[in-house]
Symmetry: C3
Subunit: 263 residues, 3 copies
Amino acid sequence: METQMLEELEVTIRKGLHIIKFNRPSKKNSFTAQMYDGLARLLNEAAVDDRIVITALTGAGDFYSSGNDLTNATKFIADGDIIESTKESCNRIRNFVSALIDYPKILVAVVNGPAYGIAVTTLGLCDVVYASDKAYFQTPFTKLGLVAEGCSSYTFPRIMGISKASEMIFFGHQMGANDAKECGLVSQVFPHTTFEQQVWSKLEQFVQMPKQSMMCSKHLIRAQISEELHKANEAECKELGERMHSEECITAVFQILNRRSKM
Amino acid sequence: METQMLEELEVTIRKGLHIIKFNRPSKKNSFTAQMYDGLARLLNEAAVDDRIVITALTGAGDFYSSGNDLTNATKFIADGDIIESTKESCNRIRNFVSALIDYPKILVAVVNGPAYGIAVTTLGLCDVVYASDKAYFQTPFTKLGLVAEGCSSYTFPRIMGISKASEMIFFGHQMGANDAKECGLVSQVFPHTTFEQQVWSKLEQFVQMPKQSMMCSKHLIRAQISEELHKANEAECKELGERMHSEECITAVFQILNRRSKM
Amino acid sequence: METQMLEELEVTIRKGLHIIKFNRPSKKNSFTAQMYDGLARLLNEAAVDDRIVITALTGAGDFYSSGNDLTNATKFIADGDIIESTKESCNRIRNFVSALIDYPKILVAVVNGPAYGIAVTTLGLCDVVYASDKAYFQTPFTKLGLVAEGCSSYTFPRIMGISKASEMIFFGHQMGANDAKECGLVSQVFPHTTFEQQVWSKLEQFVQMPKQSMMCSKHLIRAQISEELHKANEAECKELGERMHSEECITAVFQILNRRSKM
C-alpha cells in the first residue's frame, strides 16, 4: 500500500484499487484551483498506470464535496482582469471534466456525505456511484447566477429523465440518497455506519476480476458518447465563462459572501 | 396580475409566472383545433416576452386534459376531402409540438388530474412535471388506430426506458402518478388537497431566481436534442396523417362514437 | 393453434400471438449454436408472416435462460483453429442480435425465471419485458473474461442510467425483479403463481388491437436508433471475438469447468 498527499488530495494505491480522497474537511472538501489541476493530473497519470484497475473518488470527514470553492469566484470579481481570470478558471474546469470523460479505467464515486455543484454533476461521468444514506445532492447553479457544468446538461436528462434533471439543474432541487437511487444517479445506498466497510470490501473484490474485460466493456460504452460529452463540456464551459462575469452571478456571489461575513 | 381568456385557454401573468390553463372542463379540457392554434401562438409570444420566466400548463376542474378532442377526428371522416382535412389537422399538431420544442423559457406542467394522449406525450417536452396523486397517464394510440405523437417516440424511451415506453405507446397502459414518478415522467407527486398550494408557492419562489441562468441551462440541454426532436415530430406527423384515414382508425372512431351515442 | 419444435425451441402461434419458448430446461435453457441460428431464422420468418402481431419469448421450467451455453466456449478452446471457431461463434451472435434489432413486430419478453448473460442483454432489444417475482438478472461478462454484448453497451445506460448499467456490465451485479422494475429494465413484476395466467391473458387481448398502429409506432421508435444499435452490435462482436481467445477468458472458462467437474 502506498499513500501520498498532493494539494489536499490523499492518494492511496492498494492492489489495483486507487483511492483519491478530497482531503479538505474544514472547507467541506470544496475544490480549489490546485485541487482541480491535481485531480486532472492524477487521472491522466492513472490512465496509463498498469497497476490501477479501479479508481475511487471519496471525501474526508462528513462531506463528499461541496463543489467549487466560492472563493475561486470572488477572486475573479476582485481581480483587475476579470475576463482573463474567468477564462483561466473555465479552462481548469474543462480540463478536469475532460480527464473524467477520457478516463479508461473503472471510476467509482464513493459518496460518503452531501455533495454540491460540480461534485454532483461529475457523478454522471463516473461509472458506478455508491452512496451513504447521509448523502444528498444539490446543484445550485441558478441561485449563483451560473449554469449547468460537468456535462450535466448531457448526462442528467439521460440518467434521470428531463423532469428530475430540470428540477435539479434549473431549480436547485436537493435530492436525497434514496431518490438518487430511484432515479438512477446512484446504484446503491448503504447505511452510513457500515457504508465504508461494505463499499471498500466490494471494491477490493472487484479489482481482482479480469481487468481487460472491464476496460473493454467501458470502452464500448464510452466510445459511443465520448464525442458528445466533449461537445457538452465545451458548450457548458463557454457559457460558464460568460455567466461568471454576468450581473446575476456577481450579485449572487456578493449576497452570499455578505451573509457569511455577518454570521 | 393580468388574466385573459383566449379560445378556452385562460392566461395569467403574475410576476414572471405565466399560467396557461386549459379551460374546457365540460369536455375534460380536450383540445379543439382553436386550442392547438392558441397554445402555439401563446408559446411563440411568451418566448419573446421579457416579463415571462416560467410558463406553467395546467387544467381547469378535475382533468389536466383528455388530449385531442375526438370530434376533431370525426370531422375528417364526415368531411368530403378527408386527405385535405387530415393534412390540416396534422399541421396544427406539428406546429403546436414545434412551439414546445423551441420554447426557450422554463416550461412546467402542473398536472392537476388525469391526462390522455397528446396531453401526456407533450409532458416529455416540458422541463419539469409536477402531479397531483389523482393524476394518471394514458396514451391510447393503438386503440384509436393512431400512432405515437408529441415526440413521444423520442422522449418516452429516453425518460422511462423502452419497456415502459412501449407498454404505454403500443398497449395503452394506464400509468398511475407514483409509477410516473418512479419512471421519471414526473418529478414529484403531491396529495391532491394541497397540490395547487404547494406547487404555485414553489413556482412563485422559482421565478425570482436569476432568469438568464435558467434559460442558459435550458438552452444547453435543448440545443443537444432540438434537431432530433424536430425530426421525430416530422416523422410522427407524417405517419399520423396516413393513419388518420386508415381503415383501422376510421373503424375505431366509429365504434367509440357509436358506444357514446348509446349511452 | 399450431405448435412445432425446432432445435429445442417450441413455437406456438395462436390468433396473432407467436410464442417462442426456450425448451432446454435440463440445461437452464442455455443457448446452443443451433438455438441461436433457430431464433434468428424464426424472427426473420415471423417478420414477414402476416398472421403474427406479437412475438413472446419465454423459457420452459424454472429458468428464462442462463444465456450462452458455456460448452460453446470450451469448443473454441478445444478446437484446433480457435480464431476460426470464435469468428463463427461471433457471427452467430451478431446475426441473432441483428434479427432482434430489425424485428418489426411487437416483441415481448415473458421472463418466467432467472436470466443470465445474453438472455438479459437482449431484453433491452425487446419492446416490453414482463417478469415473475422469481426472476433475477445477471451479466457475468467480466468473470468470464468477456465483454458487453446484445447491444447492452448501448441499451443498458439508456434504460437504467450509467451507474446501474456499469454495476451490471462491469461488476456482474445480480439485479432482483423489483429493482429491474424500478430501473426500467422491466415494466411489471407479477407474483410467480399467477404470472403466466396474467401475462398470457394480457397478450391475448393486445393481439386483438389494431396491428398496423402498433407496428407504425414501433417503426417510429426503432428507426431513430436502428443504425446506432447495429453499430453497437458490430463493435461488441468484434471485441467479443478478441476477448474469446484472450488469456483472461481461457483461464476463467477452465476454472469454471474445473469446478463443475469436481462437483
